[in-house]
């Protein structure tokens, strides 16, 4: 099972070590470069308030991207996460009259359920995850609008918003929670049999089947984890905004996939990791925040984000392309 463990192997020479470091951390270097650039350009960038802003701004897309990473590594994609955010945000607010605990558990369960259904259809029917989750995205969004209507719900239990506003110094509790979840998912991917099997399935599915790996079980588990992370994102968003609407999380699946890809996870599967995704989430948040601080017209910001993504992927191809072909 050495398909994905190249980054873990000790390097032969220090030069190779440096190359490996740059290769597996290029997006962190990008984040660092952006941070240096914006701190030189704006006096507000390195203020504690703004650092706390940037970290908080990582959380929503970050939760989705961390959940998406194992799905993509195992060779699939989940387009339904944005819709799950809308659904679970509405559940956690609408069910508050039954108790906050019930509301949170119901939202988490809904997310896991959507993930399980996604995984089951993909694995048992053999339909492409792109199609399955595209249909799920549209279905879930529609159902949420049907149930709630085109309105927004106010959170009635103040504990939810009060929790989201807690902070340790400048670091919001939501950021701490996010970092903890990222660490757990990262650990599972790197150091457990499930993680190793996930890489194996994405790298070469038929070889994984031949090796006796219970492929379906691992793929379904990753979809369920992805649904769970989307539900946590929905709850966090409702908590942070003190409200929920069926439109919450619209287009977030695309932001999450952007971060996963920028973080070096291969869309075809078999390669990638949480560390890279995390760096990409941070780099994108720094880029958006910094452009706002530099008073760049809001219309240029999506364009700049798109251009940076393409440049980063081209550079990544230059640095890693050769190695990738070797690995295949």
């Amino acid at each position: 099972m050495s398909l994905a463990t190249d980054r873990l192997q000790p390097s032969a020479t220090s030069f190779d070590g440096l190359k490996t470091f740059i290769r597996s951390n290029s997006v962190w270097l990008l984040a660092l470069a952006l941070a240096v650039f914006f701190s030189l350009q704006s006096a507000f960038f390195l203020t504690p308030f703004n650092i706390s802003n940037v970290l908080t701004q990582c959380v929503f897309v970050g939760l989705l991207a961390i959940g998406m990473t194992p799905v993509v590594i195992s060779g699939n994609i989940d387009l339904s996460v944005g819709a799950v955010v809308g659904l679970t945000a509405c559940i956690v607010v609408a069910l508050q009259p039954y108790g906050l605990g019930v509301a949170v558990l119901a939202a988490l369960a809904a997310g896991v359920l959507v993930g399980l259904v996604n995984g089951l259809i993909v694995e048992k029917m053999g339909i492409s995850s792109f199609i399955v989750t595209l249909a799920m995205m549209s279905g879930i969004r529609g159902l949420t609008f049907l149930a709630i209507g085109d309105i927004s719900l106010s959170s009635t239990d103040d504990r939810l918003n009060a929790f989201a506003m807690l902070a340790i110094g400048p670091i919001s509790i939501v950021v701490v929670l996010f970092a903890g979840l990222a660490a757990v998912v990262g650990f599972v991917l790197r150091f457990t049999p499930h993680g190793r099997n996930t890489f194996a399935i994405g790298g070469n599915r038929s070889a994984a089947v031949d090796a006796g790996i219970a492929v379906s079980r691992h793929v379904i588990a990753n979809f369920a984890l992805c649904g769970l992370m989307a539900a946590i994102c929905g709850i966090a968003m409702a908590a942070n905004l003190g409200a929920a609407a069926p439109s919450f999380g619209r287009d977030y699946e695309l932001l999450a996939i952007t971060a996963v890809v920028l973080g070096g996870t291969r869309l075809q599967g078999g390669k990638g990791g949480v560390t890279g995704t995390l760096g990409a989430v941070l780099a994108l948040a720094i880029l958006r925040n910094g452009l706002n601080l530099l008073r760049v017209s809001p219309f240029y910001i999506p364009v700049i984000v798109g251009v940076v993504l393409i440049i980063a992927l081209v550079l990544d191809r230059q640095v890693n392309g050769q190695a990738m072909r070797h690995g295949e």
Binding site: I151, L153, N161, M165, L241, G242, R250, N292, L293
Partner: protein, 330 residues
């Protein structure tokens, strides 16, 4: 003229020119907390892609800012309430002197608005009200007064019917503050006319299709009894008119008998008021809305006290004055 006076007058002249470049407008308070040209306005807007009204608003806002010589910091939330909250925090980080927010979602903006207040930044909510739970964070609201618009529509309806007749109401989405105000304001005026009877009142939300369906049902139930239709806005009103047109073709209704009135005029209804097919509406100018927001923001930054609600003028429009009102481009 001595050399000294020449120098002096040249200096004064130069100073005047220098002043002219960044001269504050005459409505700007003389004793400002901060010089006019140093005021930084932050504007967290929901995005011009919402509709034609929003597009016209942002165009006018930018033009007015350029005309005044101020450079507001604009952010675009692209209709995402979570992103808007982030952007409001980005503007707090930049220590803007005053902030304008056009909320994507009146409820979801409340926590971010409270942070603006905590940072001591005066906050203007423009065009759409913040939820009442967050009103204490807001310094002023600028924009349309839905109640007054509906009252104006009520007056137009009463005049159209000469104070006597049967009407049906197509309201906004239940639970929305705006919908309630546009109902209450209209009814406040109409209730003064004992001979105007409300046959029925239904929520058409803000949907043209729903307005048409509901009107079809009203025509089936009440037929020729209907003398007037009041709609929450021109979109719904146009849906109702479409239903009536079909009934007129079938001979179920008489042409020109029903008076159509609504509370916010769109461009296509302006055209129909001109031809006389639609009776009247209420004009809300996106350009004035934008200018009012920026003007109020600059006054607040200067330290001037504003009313909690700074309302936009919203005149009634009928065939009599439609030519004096520019056609809305939305």
């Amino acid at each position: 003229m001595s050399f000294k006076t020449l120098i002096a007058s040249a200096a004064i002249g130069l100073a005047l020119i220098g002043n002219a470049v960044a001269a504050p407008p005459d409505w700007f308070p003389k004793e400002s907390k901060k010089p006019f040209e140093e005021i930084v306005v932050g504007f967290a807007n929901l995005g011009p892609s919402l509709n034609g009204y929003a597009a016209a608003y942002f165009k006018a806002f930018n033009e007015y800012a350029a005309e005044l010589g101020v450079k507001p910091i604009m952010t675009d939330a692209a209709l995402d309430p979570a992103r808007q909250a982030d952007q409001v925090r980005d503007l707090i980080a930049q220590q803007v002197d005053v902030m304008i927010v056009w909320p994507v979602n009146g409820k979801a903006i409340v926590p971010a608005a409270r942070q603006v207040a905590q940072a001591g930044i005066p906050l203007i909510i423009s065009n759409s009200m913040i939820d009442e739970s967050g009103m204490e964070a807001m310094t002023s609201y600028t924009g349309p007064d839905d109640y007054a618009e509906a009252q104006e529509a009520g007056k137009i309806m009463a005049a159209a019917l000469n104070g006597k007749g049967n009407i049906v109401l197509l309201n906004g989405t239940p639970g929305y503050r705006m919908a309630q105000l546009r109902y209450d304001g209209f009814m406040e005026v109409i209730s003064k006319y004992p001979d105007i009877k409300v046959l029925d009142s239904q929520p058409a939300d803000m949907s043209q299709a729903k307005g048409q369906t509901l009107m079809e049902n009203f025509i089936t139930r009440f037929g020729k009894q209907i003398d007037g239709v009041y709609s929450v806005d021109s979109g719904v009103g146009f849906g109702a008119l479409t239903a009536a047109r079909a009934a007129i073709q079938e001979g179920t209704l008489e042409a020109g008998k029903i008076k159509f009135v609504d509370a916010t005029m769109y461009g296509f209804v302006w055209d129909l008021i001109k031809t006389g097919e639609y009776y009247g509406s209420v004009y809300q100018s996106p350009e004035e809305d934008a200018r009012l927001a920026l003007r109020s923001a600059l006054k607040l930054a200067a330290g001037e006290k504003l009313k909690q609600f700074e309302y936009l003028e919203t005149p009634g429009v009928t065939k009599a004055n439609v030519d004096t009102i520019s056609r809305p481009n939305f």
